[in-house]
């Protein structure tokens, strides 16, 4: 199947690339320019009719560099997903969008949480930084992420994904990648909107979501509010643990989200607040199926204040203050006796962060950014519990990080040199340099990138070291090369290669290991040099018919080691739970003037995991067959005035979707959603209908 798919895709690419190229598109007008001065010419609107594709690849990327640069100039490997692509894909939640990104896959963690692997490496705790408008939303205790019915998709304007390290900018939570969600601001909303998203499977409802947003820009003041209340089911299937016990997931695997985001900007000052209350429900605990479902709560409140002051033409001052409140993995109920492994837990954690920097253009070919960031992580365990290492219920860690970045435009290439040096009271220090060389040659663009990055041990990993071991930061060195070509004004192709080497990987020993090793469970630094190598391809074609986006990724660990926890016994090229090949295609085709249909394909190659145990309770390795997910979405952006609606069917063939565990903890694969029929409606009430009509 893999070969057929690849052949099909290659052929499609070749056919499409031979299209006729149109002459240069200049906006035609009869205006007389001949009397304009240079200044007037410079202020004039662009005379060039850029295609949607050109506009996409020239979007300013905020996450890849301290100074926004276009996708091709940014010193990172980047995927961008626009508002239009999100709307036309019919994405039900953030998982549907991230599933389209090369190299990114979902795996089950524990307590009903599904999180990310990237380039074959399990990446849930501090390896990937998820941000909303630049605010990191990883919880504080473990720096983990939770996916599935989480975050408000209808309010996303753009998602920038840095498929590569980001520690030189963002520190110890961005070792492998950065996902920055940019939400709609007042100037984008200019009114109120209400949206709903409801889904149904043969067995149960799959999703019920209602959202609201309001925003506008009045002179120098811009404000926005958006929020949602949503509940969904992880799966309509049946979970079977490694001991062959089962339970039906509908009603036992609820995912609930209450979320809102308030933003305000006045001149150079901006303030943002995010409230996020997310809850999973599950019965699949580490040691087996529990007698009844339990809920796990993740509460966060984040505030950011930003102030930029242009001191003169060449110098800008940037100030940023952040506060994050986090109550992750909270369970305060009373477990039934049989489920006593499922203990009560409530950690209250706060992060206070200050960042001051300058952006300076000392020479016409040089931009310098430097500054310092300091933050304080505080954790407080309630319910008469104490942290294991310090035997106290209060911990506090300080981190200081001077940083710098220099962008140089030279005749030979654009060069980015940067570094960040983190000094922590918890884990010592980590120096993270980066070097990026980008070069445009006609329609081609090349990037050669090197970056050192790290994962900082979070509060619970610091306090839960095996034998009170003091954890070192996990360190990675990543080398990447990208070649891209704007094949036509409406067609773009990029191919990149990567090589990641990680040392001192922070891994968790589970109880099952302690039987074998004699260690108690807890975190430790792996003595293996883990990592992966591979290739990723992104192809985008956008024209009057609609668009086609194609993404392919491949990884191998053949030239690297792997930690025992992630090893597939007898296989030297794969890690546990992840597929070496992944291919996604998203197309959106206009049907008449008001309708569009968006079919999509998500192919994940074979994976390995543990679904059962032998008589000695050793896991029996299982090969999971490749997974082919077919979806379709029929939508309209203006069938009824101010209203966009769509009807989608996800997993048309009712393929058995699974999220295997990416480490050996004897958690059987968690089933995903089967065939799902859903409806999305978004109704806008513009404050100025005339302006909207124009």
């Amino acid at each position: 199947m893999k070969r057929i798919l690849l052949t099909y895709i290659f052929t499609l690419l070749a056919i499409l690339s031979y299209g006729q190229h149109k002459p240069v598109d200049i906006i035609k007008d009869t205006s007389d320019l001949s009397n304009l001065s240079i200044e007037e010419l410079s202020k004039m609107k662009s005379r060039y009719a850029a295609t949607d594709m050109e506009k996409t690849i020239s979007l300013a990327i905020e996450a890849a560099s301290r100074k926004p640069l276009t996708m091709r100039k940014s010193p990172s490997i980047i995927s961008v997903i626009t508002e239009e692509e999100i709307e036309r894909s019919g994405a039900r939640d953030l998982m549907d969008i991230i599933a389209l990104i090369p190299g990114m896959e979902f795996n089950v963690d524990v307590e009903g949480v599904v999180a990310l692997s990237f380039r074959g490496l399990w990446s849930n705790e501090g390896n990937i930084s998820l941000q909303i408008n630049g605010m990191e939303v990883n919880e504080i205790a473990y720096a983990s992420l939770q996916f599935g019915n989480h975050y408000q998709v209808s309010q996303i304007k753009k998602i920038e994904i840095i498929r590569g390290p980001g520690s030189a900018i963002y520190g110890g939570c961005a070792e492998y990648a950065v996902i920055n969600i940019i939400t709609k601001k007042g100037e984008d909303l200019k009114g109120a909107a209400i949206n709903t998203n409801i889904g149904q499977t043969a067995e149960t409802y799959s999703r019920q979501e209602i959202g609201l947003s309001v925003g506008d820009k009045i002179k120098d003041l811009s404000y926005s509010f958006s929020g949602m209340v949503a509940r969904a089911q992880r799966s309509n299937g049946t979970y079977t643990d490694v001991y062959n016990n089962s339970y039906k997931m509908p009603g036992n695997a609820d995912l609930k989200a209450n979320y809102f985001n308030i933003g305000m900007k006045y001149k150079n000052l901006s303030v943002q607040f995010i409230y996020d209350n997310y809850q999973t429900t599950n019965r699949d605990n580490i040691l087996g199926i529990m007698s009844r479902p339990y809920s796990m709560n993740f509460l966060s409140g984040m505030t950011q204040v930003k102030y930029n002051k242009q001191l003169n033409k060449k110098l800008q001052l940037q100030l940023k203050l952040d506060h994050k409140y986090s109550e992750p993995w909270t369970f305060t109920g009373q477990p039934a006796l049989i489920d006593s492994e499922y203990g009560s837990y409530r950690l209250i954690a706060n992060t206070y962060k200050a960042n001051i920097g300058i952006l300076w253009d000392p020479l016409y070919w040089m931009n310098v950014n430097c500054g310092i960031e300091g933050y304080n992580d505080r954790g407080h365990l309630t319910m008469n519990q104490v942290f294991r290492t310090d035997s106290t219920n209060e911990v506090s860690y300080m981190n200081y990080a001077p940083f710098t970045q220099i962008l140089m435009k030279t005749p030979y290439a654009n060069i980015t040199v940067g570094a960040r040096y983190d000094i922590s009271t918890a884990f010592g220090s980590a120096f993270n340099p980066r070097l990026g060389i980008t070069k445009k040659v006609g329609i081609f663009n090349f990037k050669l990138l090197y970056a050192s990055s790290f994962r900082a041990p979070a509060i619970e990993s610091i306090q839960y070291g095996v034998d009170n071991m003091k954890l070192k930061p996990e360190r990675s060195n990543t080398l990447e090369f990208e070649a891209s070509v704007k094949m036509r004004k409406d067609m773009y192709l990029s191919v990149n290669f990567f090589d990641i080497t990680t040392t001192d990987a922070i891994r968790y020993f589970v109880k099952t290991d302690s039987v074998i090793t004699g260690f108690p469970d807890g975190y430790r630094n792996s003595d293996k040099k883990i990592g992966s190598q591979g290739v990723e391809v992104e192809y985008r074609y956008k024209s009057s018919f609609g668009f086609i986006n194609l993404a392919y990724s491949y990884y191998t660990i053949r030239n690297k080691s792997v930690d025992d926890a992630n090893m597939v016994p007898g296989n030297k090229s794969m890690t546990l739970g992840t597929a070496q090949n992944k291919l996604t295609v998203l197309a959106s085709i206009n049907v008449g003037k008001k309708l569009f249909i968006s079919p999509s394909v998500n192919f994940i190659d074979k994976r390995f995991g543990y679904s059962s145990v032998d008589a000695n309770e050793n896991g029996i390795l299982t090969e999971y067959k490749p997974q082919l997910l077919l979806n379709a979405y029929l939508g309209s952006s203006n069938l009824v005035k101010n209203c966009s609606l769509g009807l989608g069917i996800s997993n048309i063939t009712n393929e058995r979707i699974i999220y295997p565990q990416a480490y050996s903890s004897l958690h059987a694969p968690l089933p995903g959603m089967g065939r799902d029929l859903y409806l999305k409606v978004n109704y806008k009430l513009p404050f100025n209908q005339k302006q909207q009509d124009q």
């Binding site: 060039y48 329609i443 191919v495 391809v537 090229s573």
Partner: protein
Amino acid sequence: MSKIYIKALIVFFSCISAASCYGQSYDPKENSVYIYNFIKYTSWPQKKSVIHVGIVGNSQVEEELKRLFSKKTSNGTTYTVKKITSAEAKTVDVVIVAQQASEQMRSIEQQTARTPVLIITEKENMARQGACISFFIDEENDYKTGYQLSIRNCKARGLSVNEQIQNNAVLTR
């Protein structure tokens, strides 16, 4: 692994070979007004009553400039526009190098080194080859036309450009 790499490269390069070769997308009308202003606000060592503009290669700007100059004079200065070869570059006051003729810059530079000839290229980043002004399309600014200015190259040719030109330029070496 190696097979996949090879497949990826084959696809990539086959697509590249199929890619249409299009150059920068300028509006000749807009560029001709820019050029008129560049000439108007450039001072030559000796005052000129007639400024001769030569165009190397095929450019749509030629027709636009002819049309523009037919109705323009500045302080009694008149203009002529004609197509020239790179060998004739030193016989004019302004050389415009068409996008497709950019490889002739080396020869033009050799012909006109240290002489008061204002060299304007349609291709970007030509200052190192001796261009005074190079047009570019600013992808970061809605694909607007912009220009790079090399004050050093202008000075080396005895030309001075006024603030109007400098203020709106992207300065280069």
